[in-house]
């Protein structure tokens, strides 16, 4: 607050001398000659000056209002300013002024009319507002546009005062009429007013149709820059009903990106980014994205404030459309004199744009930044170096060297920051950089920040056996243990235990001391609990302790600041606003803000474009997991297996997320993302879609899943689905896991090492189990489909549980979020990604649920085994309550899918004991480590049987997989064997102004599905600019490349092959193989539909051996079978027929000759996992055959048989 003296000085400099209120009053009322009001004008200026300084001038109101009659615009403006300032607080002032206003609103001068209306709107006093209403109505129809545009704003002012008044007086309709006004400024203000009224009103919702939108866009050209902003903003209320709407809007506002006003540019970017969600084709999207980049870079030449806003928004856009700003990296290099906020924001963008190719340049640049002065900037630069190491494996060596160099500078905060990131690098690349530990240890004394200390302690603990004097080094931290922050204490506790486990003699003095402190002297419950766990672990079973404490850690991610999809999507609807800068939805800091969502429409596609393959790097991030090579796949799979059992395996070492249960559930979420991100197969995507449909909260449509490349996004989408609907179940799962915490956490973490499973399977066996589990889970999940016996054996409760889960609501999906979902990753081992749902999306939801459940099999028994073995009755008791839910029919599965998962898997263990409601802690008793069988009602024999069963299965699957590979090999040798239906007319030249398209579908070697077409131009004009688009279809078939047709000259035709892929947007069609296709070309847009033969979906891995066939056949004994009679086969020998079928992925399992006929037994599998087993009886003269089929997808049998018929009868 300014002191009186200061204020007086201030006034002196402002306008000397000081005026007292009474002096001013005297001047305002002076009777001296003042014909043009000049004296009063001077007096008014003094009043305004005083007002500005916060001095109360309201006592002068009578005198001031009297001045309203002075015919001087300037005086009038000052009086109005006075009124705006004081009238709202003092109604009597306003009331006095009403007469003056009434005169002014009828003034012949439009400037005065407008000013009166404008000022009255500012004064929220009943009388003024009342007397505003009539004139306002006139002014909205004033012949002067300046008055109209001011009146439009006045309506907004009025609505803020009294919303109902505006509606009662029909002002809204008048505003709407103004949208068609001939004057652009009027239109702009009317739009602005309507937009804000709708923003603030709970029940008015602005919706613009394309007709209005087009009119507004036309008005854009004539508007001033601000008006353009208001109009563009209003386009956010247009929901495109089809793709062409969106494309039109984008095309028409694209020129605005060249505007000199950054506000116009960014709001245009916002509208374009919004509309891009409704664009159906990547071919359309790419040029748009290309056009977006240059204007964004240009904005970096604006003032630093605008640069900052641009940079923050670029971050968002980049995350959604990673291809934007490719090769623009250097534009983001920091200038020395950039303001710090710009530098920090640039750093983030640089990190996002870093790829394998430019990592070296970026690193050099970051090292440069690390030498600058601003501490925050330097820290962030150092941290970024570490993040690049984690993001880009190839650059890791260089990053580590750079960090070591930075440590040598001895600049304290640089050293500390470097050590923190090096900890993460150690986490990411275990056992690779231990050689640098020596250098790190030289800086022990300088570490005073908790995070750096904790990081250093973690490193020492982790490598306690490699560092010669690790005990002494740790001991130096011991002195301050009780004074250290919890973060450091936790790290210390774990590090000391690690030391003890690795080098018992070195650690034996320290461990009791630290454990005693942790359990008796520390207040933090996390530390105390962890202390107790370690204590008990160590005192009960040192081997177990080793397994628990030294368990492998899950991968960490470099992209710490990635937003999850729903948030990102919401923020992208706010480009350029505060919300986009803070990365928070507006409702978090604006009380009245409405949430924006992408308007639902048929056209909503949410397409995205993945970066080109060159920059597709082995990202280790949780979200971006995408297997691009077999080796990587393997790695990831292993990693995921670790994560499978890693809910608790955060190991807590310097990792804050391990420290509390709430965060633990969050971390479980992370893990889930990792898993689903890795899956990146349409199966899961569909699951999400199905789930979302059921949920109905936010419609997530995953059109972008063309192939594996889109994995990252698919996970994001899942994530988004998860966000909307999973929350409840997450809470549950999270809590359940938390209640296991912390003992169970450790135990879970130990699973892979605890050899519970390992004793039964080696690593390969585990893989195989996973792959067994997934297809079976899929099978069992298909609602209403028959259940193979085999699976019944494996999980006899599946039909129960999956049914229940399918029926239950979102909580069933909890099984997928549970880390066990990761196991399904092993699906990548199969040459073909499994795709699409068959029956319904809801069915898929069900299909997915047991997926997780099945996967539980591997970790849950392990968990139980280890916990039991560890022998913590006290810890176990809460655990047991979790698991101890009765599993009789109709059991309450709904509350936690994780639980049902456990039960589902436990049940086979106790299968003989029918109503097993008792404790289910049944470690397989041949476990080496399990010294005591714990409390279990299940005999060891059962467990062994179970394991043997699984073991067999694993082997079988392995074998069959092997066989299949071989089968594929032989099949792919001769491409000619693949059946291709003859081309038929898709488009008739008569209806299409001369364009005729013939086409068919084929599955070529290696499982390449393609559409083979011939385009004939029967008109006299060339036809060009072809584009093709598929509507959603049952299996998500969608073009994976562009339609390589150039211009077709008149009377010519062109043959073309369009590669297809599965995993596009799916929707069940009738018939199931129906495809709706649109072709765009210069002759127009044409729609047609066609059906493909189901055989193009037959997977190369559909082979099975006799045993399996028999089992399945038997298992489906009562399943509906279909039979079909086929006449006039085109074969001359059984050999030929068998080959032909084989080449089309209908594999012959067995063949036997009977009198006058031969019986084939075939198996095939659809890309979505549906299996078909057929018996084909062929008359020896090939005149007729009878096909009888059993399938896990009975509804597909007719189509399947039709396909076989086609294959057998085609030439």
């Amino acid at each position: 607050m300014q002191g009186l003296e200061e204020r007086q000085n201030y006034m002196l400099t402002f306008l000397a001398p000081i005026w007292k209120v009474h002096d001013l009053r005297a001047e305002l009322t002076s009777e001296k000659k003042d014909p043009r009001g000049q004296r009063k004008k001077v007096a008014m200026k003094k009043v305004v000056a005083n007002m500005t300084m916060g001095n109360d001038m309201s006592q002068l109101y009578q005198e001031v209002i009297a001045c309203m009659s002075i015919p001087d615009l300037e005086v009038k403006k000052m009086v109005y300013l006075f009124l705006i300032n004081y009238a709202r607080a003092r109604a009597e002032i306003a009331n006095m002024a009403v007469n003056g206003f009434e005169d002014d609103v009828n003034d012949p001068n439009p400037l005065i009319r407008a000013m009166a209306i404008r000022t009255m709107g500012y004064i929220y006093v009943d009388r003024v507002i009342e007397s505003l209403i009539d004139p306002l109505r006139h002014c909205l129809r004033d012949r002067d546009p300046y008055v109209r545009k001011t009146a439009a704003m006045a309506v907004l002012k009025l609505s803020m005062f009294d919303r109902s008044l505006v509606e009662e007086e029909k002002f809204l309709d008048m505003l709407k009429d103004l949208l068609a006004d001939g004057n652009p400024s009027v239109v702009a203000n009317a739009v602005a007013a309507l937009t804000e009224i709708s923003e603030r009103s709970p029940h008015i919702k602005l919706k613009l149709n394309m007709k209005i939108a087009n009119k507004l866009i036309t008005a854009l050209n004539e508007c001033n820059e601000w008006g353009q902003i208001y109009i563009l903003e209003s386009l956010m209320y247009v929901v495109p009903q089809d793709t062409s709407d969106a494309e039109t809007v984008i095309e028409r506002i694209m020129p605005r990106l060249q505007h000199g006003n950054s506000g116009v540019v960014l709001v245009s970017v916002k509208v374009i980014a919004y509309m891009m969600n409704y664009v159906a084709q990547t071919e359309t999207l790419e040029p748009i994205l290309r056009k977006l980049s240059p204007p964004l870079v240009t904005l970096l030449a604006s003032g630093p404030e605008v640069q900052y806003i641009t940079l923050r928004n670029i971050q968002l856009l980049l995350q959604r459309w990673p291809t934007i700003l490719q090769n623009q990296l250097r534009a983001f290099f920091c200038k020395y004199d950039d303001p710090i906020y710009v530098k920090l924001a640039k750093l983030e963008v640089i990190l996002s744009l870093t790829t394998e190719e430019n990592a070296r340049v970026v690193l050099t640049e970051l090292v440069e930044y690390a030498a600058e002065i601003d501490v925050d900037f330097v820290r962030k630069a150092v941290r970024s170096i570490g993040r690049i190491a984690i993001k880009i494996e190839l650059a890791a060596d260089r990053c580590v060297r750079a960090l070591l160099d930075l440590i040598q500078t001895k600049v304290n905060y640089v050293v500390q920051e470097a050590i923190v990131v090096i900890r993460d690098i150690f986490r990411k690349y275990p056992n690779r950089y231990e050689s640098i530990i020596g250098t790190l240890c030289e800086n022990l004394d300088t570490l005073d920040e908790p995070e750096a200390r904790a990081a250093m302690i973690w490193i020492i603990g982790q490598y306690a056996d490699r560092i010669d004097n690790s005990d002494r080094v740790l001991a130096t931290f011991l002195d301050t243990f009780l004074d250290d922050p919890a973060e450091v204490q936790l790290a210390m506790l774990t590090a000391v235990v690690k030391l003890f486990i690795m080098r018992p003699t070195a650690g034996q003095d320290m461990v009791p001391k630290v454990l005693k402190w942790a359990t008796e002297h520390v207040d933090s419950p996390d530390i105390r609990d962890r202390g107790f766990i370690y204590w008990r672990l160590l005192s009960t079973d040192p081997e177990m302790a080793r397994a628990v404490v030294l368990a492998d850690k899950p991968e960490i991610s470099a992209e710490g600041e990635r937003l999850d999809m729903p948030l990102l999507e919401e923020l992208l609807l706010q480009v350029g606003t505060l919300s986009s800068i803070y990365r928070k939805p507006p409702c978090t800091f604006i009380p009245f803000a409405k949430k924006r969502v992408l308007g639902a429409s048929e056209a909503l596609t949410r397409l995205t474009i993945a970066p080109p393959p060159v920059s597709r790097l082995p990202r280790s991030t949780s979200v971006m997991n995408r297997p691009s090579s077999a080796k990587q796949q393997q790695q990831q799979q292993q990693q995921l297996q670790r994560t499978t059992s890693s809910t608790g395996d955060r190991d807590g070492l310097g990792d804050p997320s391990g420290s509390s249960s709430v965060q633990l559930s969050a971390s479980a979420l992370d893990v889930t993302n990792g898993g689903s991100g890795g899956m990146s197969n349409p199966y899961i995507n569909d699951t999400a879609a199905g789930f979302m449909q059921g949920n109905d909260a936010v419609l997530i449509d995953l059109m972008s899943m063309d192939d594996d490349e889109y994995g990252g996004d698919s996970s994001a989408a899942i994530n988004s689905g998860g966000m909307a609907g999973f929350n409840a179940s997450f809470g549950l799962t999270g809590m359940n896991m938390a209640s296991l915490d912390p003992a169970a956490r450790g135990a879970v973490g130990a699973a892979p090492d605890s050899q519970v499973l390992n004793s039964a399977f080696d690593a390969a066996g585990l893989d195989a189990l996973a792959s067994v589990a997934s297809p079976m889970a899929r099978l069992s999940g298909r609602s209403g489909s028959p259940m193979p016996d085999l699976m019944r054996q494996f999980t006899s409760s599946f039909d129960l549980s999956s049914g229940a889960i399918t029926g239950s609501t979102s909580s069933s999906m909890g099984a997928i979020p549970s880390p066990m979902g990761n196991l399904s990753f092993s699906q990548h081992q199969q040459p073909q990604p499994v795709s699409g749902s068959t029956s319904s999306l809801a069915g898929m939801a069900g299909g997915a649920a047991p997926y997780g459940v099945a996967a539980n099999a591997s970790s849950m028994p392990a968990l139980l085994g280890t916990t039991a073995a560890a022998g913590f009755p006290s810890v176990l008791s809460p655990t047991s309550t979790v698991f101890n839910i009765p599993t009789s029919t109709g059991s309450p599965f709904a509350n936690s899918a994780a639980i049902s998962g456990v039960q589902g898997n436990q049940q086979p263990l106790s299968a003989p004991a029918a109503g097993n409601t008792a404790l289910l802690f049944s470690p397989p008793s041949n476990n080496n480590n399990t010294t005591t069988a714990a409390t279990t009602g299940i005999s060891g024999g059962t467990a062994t049987a179970f394991q043997k069963e699984v073991d067999d299965l694993a082997t079988q699957m392995y074998n069959s997989g092997f066989l299949n590979t071989a089968g594929t090999g032989s099949g792919s040798g001769t491409d000619t064997g693949a059946y291709v239906a003859p081309q038929h007319v898709l488009l008739d030249a008569q209806q299409t102004q001369g364009l005729e398209i013939l086409g068919t579908f084929a599955r070529r070697s290696g499982g390449k599905i393609q559409m083979e077409m011939s385009f004939a131009n029967k008109s006299t004009m060339p036809i060009g600019d072809f584009a093709i688009q598929f509507n959603k279809n049952t299996y998500g078939l969608t073009p994976s490349g562009s339609l390589g047709v150039g211009t077709v000259a008149a009377m010519r035709s062109v043959e073309v092959t369009l590669p297809l892929t599965l995993g596009g947007p799916a929707q069940v069609m009738q018939p199931l193989t129906n495809l709706q296709i649109a072709i765009k070309c210069t002759a127009g847009v044409f729609y047609f539909q066609t059906q493909y033969s189901l055989h193009i979906l037959f997977d190369e891995t559909g082979n099975s051996d006799q045993g399996e066939f028999l089992r399945m056949w038997k298992a489906m004994g009562d399943a509906p079978t279909g039979s079909r009679t086929v006449q006039r086969l085109r074969f001359s020998s059984m050999e030929e027929m068998r080959n032909k079928l084989n080449m089309n992925n209908v594999f012959t399992v067995a063949q036997r000759a009977v009198a006058g006929a031969t019986h084939f037994y075939t198996s095939s599998k659809l890309v979505d996992g549906s299996q078909f087993y057929s018996e084909i009886k062929v008359a020896n003269n090939f005149q007729a055959a009878i096909i009888a089929t059993k399938s896990t997808a009975a509804h597909l049998v007719p189509l399947y048989q039709k396909a076989i018929e086609d294959i057998c009868t085609a030439f």
């Binding site: 300037e74 240009t298 290099f333 600049v411």
Partner: protein, 461 residues
């Protein structure tokens, strides 16, 4: 939208306070002062400060803080554009926009604020139009016009060409085009170009009567590629006048033919991106890259552009900086000019940073320019008033360092250059034509001038 606008002086005293909405009180002005202006952190960490649900956007200019307040999820870019524009208005109205000017003209500032923002929504902010009806005695309008009828003002303020009055008359119709390029460079210590681009500005001063329809052409690669024939039109002879008139003096359009050595003569330039003044018809540009517009009267920035390809760096700098132990740093800096010998750079300043603990500098310059150590800036400042093309100059210096109790490494800030080179464009951009069409069909004379200056020209050491 905006709820209030405040203008503070350096100390944080409120000079102007205008509230537009009832969701804020005047006392929020104090909140901003306390949290931002008087905040202990010497560097402002963000141009936007949100406290609770109130957001403050600020820019600084001279000794003023301009601050806009919003209570909603305002479009931040728009708010800053508004503030920049407010600044421009102030400069245009008062010559200088500083504490003094605001205090002397505060009533006018209020009038402006009342006019340019309605309920927090920016309205017309075109100086020319505003000057028609927001005036005081203290403002001397360049074109003194009789007070026009209010109706014509309102039409002007809301019409399609808010930036131009329709009653302008000049005896002599002239247009001046200035092409001003700023070269931005970041050169690594090893001499590799990390980033080089040109930010160009085309500033036009138009003194044309009536409502002239202008067309403007550059040697834009996209245009020339599309229509190769037009490439031959590049006017090399002298005048670019559309319709006769007196022969232009020395610097009229086209004289670059001799002077613009080193710039790609007749070559086309690849413009990465450009932005236009709101008078330019963006739709036209989007369809056929024609720049057509009705110009505002007087000076305005017609367009901004950016090129990143084939940047002609006017200067090469080869620095060698050696830290000899902790007591001494040695410098050898060689600068070569890389443009035609007929041209020369003026007002060149090379700033060579020295460590903060420098005590004494021994500097030797061989070639043009004088250098001296400036302890306040921690730099050797080397001034070269005139630097011919294709010339070189070098500096050697030895800087002694005071011993420090706690040795901290020196961050080695980059060497920076400041300069101006007339009749040179680093991008190679040339103006091909400026055509003026007006109903009365008068003749107009057009002039063009090129200048390249240093943007952020940094050479890391």
């Amino acid at each position: 939208m905006l709820s209030a606008v405040f203008i503070y002086n350096q100390k944080g005293e409120v000079l102007i306070s205008r509230l537009y909405r009832h969701d804020v009180k005047r006392s929020v002005a104090d909140v901003f002062r306390v949290h931002v202006i008087s905040s202990p952190a010497s560097v402002v960490r963000s141009p936007v400060t949100t406290l609770g649900s109130t957001s403050f956007f600020h820019i600084r200019y001279d000794n003023l803080w301009l601050c806009a307040v919003a209570k909603n999820n305002a479009s931040a870019a728009m708010v800053f554009e508004f503030l920049y524009r407010l600044l421009g208005l102030g400069v245009s109205y008062f010559g200088r926009f500083d504490e003094e000017a605001v205090k002397n003209n505060f009533v006018l500032v209020y009038e402006l604020l009342d006019e340019i923002l309605d309920f927090g929504y920016p309205q017309n902010m075109e100086v020319d139009t505003l000057k028609l009806y927001v005036t005081t005695e203290s403002v001397r309008s360049r074109n003194v016009v009789e007070a026009p009828a209010p109706q014509s003002i309102t039409m002007q303020a809301t019409g399609a060409t808010t930036w131009r009055r329709n009653d302008i008359v000049y005896k002599k119709n002239e247009a001046f085009v200035d092409v001003i390029e700023s070269v931005n460079l970041i050169l690594s210590a090893k001499g590799t170009v990390l980033r080089a681009d040109v930010q160009g500005q085309i500033v036009m001063r138009s003194f044309l009567s009536g409502m002239p329809e202008c067309k403007f052409g550059l040697n834009d690669k996209l245009v020339l590629d599309r229509d190769p024939a037009s490439g031959t039109i590049v006017n090399r002879s002298g005048s670019m006048r559309v319709s006769g008139g007196a022969p232009p003096p020395s610097r009229s359009m086209g004289t670059r033919a001799g002077g613009m050595g080193g710039v790609g003569d007749g070559e086309s330039v690849e413009i990465a991106d450009c932005q236009f003044h709101q008078c330019v018809r963006l739709g036209r540009f989007d369809t056929d890259r024609t720049i057509s517009f009705i110009p505002p009267d007087g000076e305005f920035e017609l367009m901004r552009y950016r090129t990143t390809e084939n940047v002609n760096l006017p200067f090469k700098v080869l620095p060698v900086v050696r830290e000899l132990g902790r007591s001494c740093v040695e410098y050898e800096v060689l600068i070569k000019s890389n443009f035609s010998a007929k041209l020369s750079a003026t007002n060149m300043v090379v700033s060579i940073p020295t460590p903060p603990n420098a005590t004494k500098c021994r500097i030797k310059v061989s070639g043009p320019g004088k250098a001296k150590y400036n302890p306040e800036e921690n730099a050797i400042v080397w001034r070269i008033s005139r630097f011919q093309g294709l010339q070189e100059t070098s500096l050697t210096a030895v800087v002694d360092l005071a011993p420090m109790t706690k040795p901290t490494p020196w961050s080695r800030p980059p060497i920076s250059l400041d300069f101006q080179v007339l009749m040179f464009t680093a991008s190679g951009l040339l103006v091909r034509f400026l055509k003026v069409f007006e109903r009365s069909n008068y003749q107009s004379v057009k002039w063009v001038r090129y200048m390249t200056k240093a943007g952020s020209y940094e050479i890391r050491i």
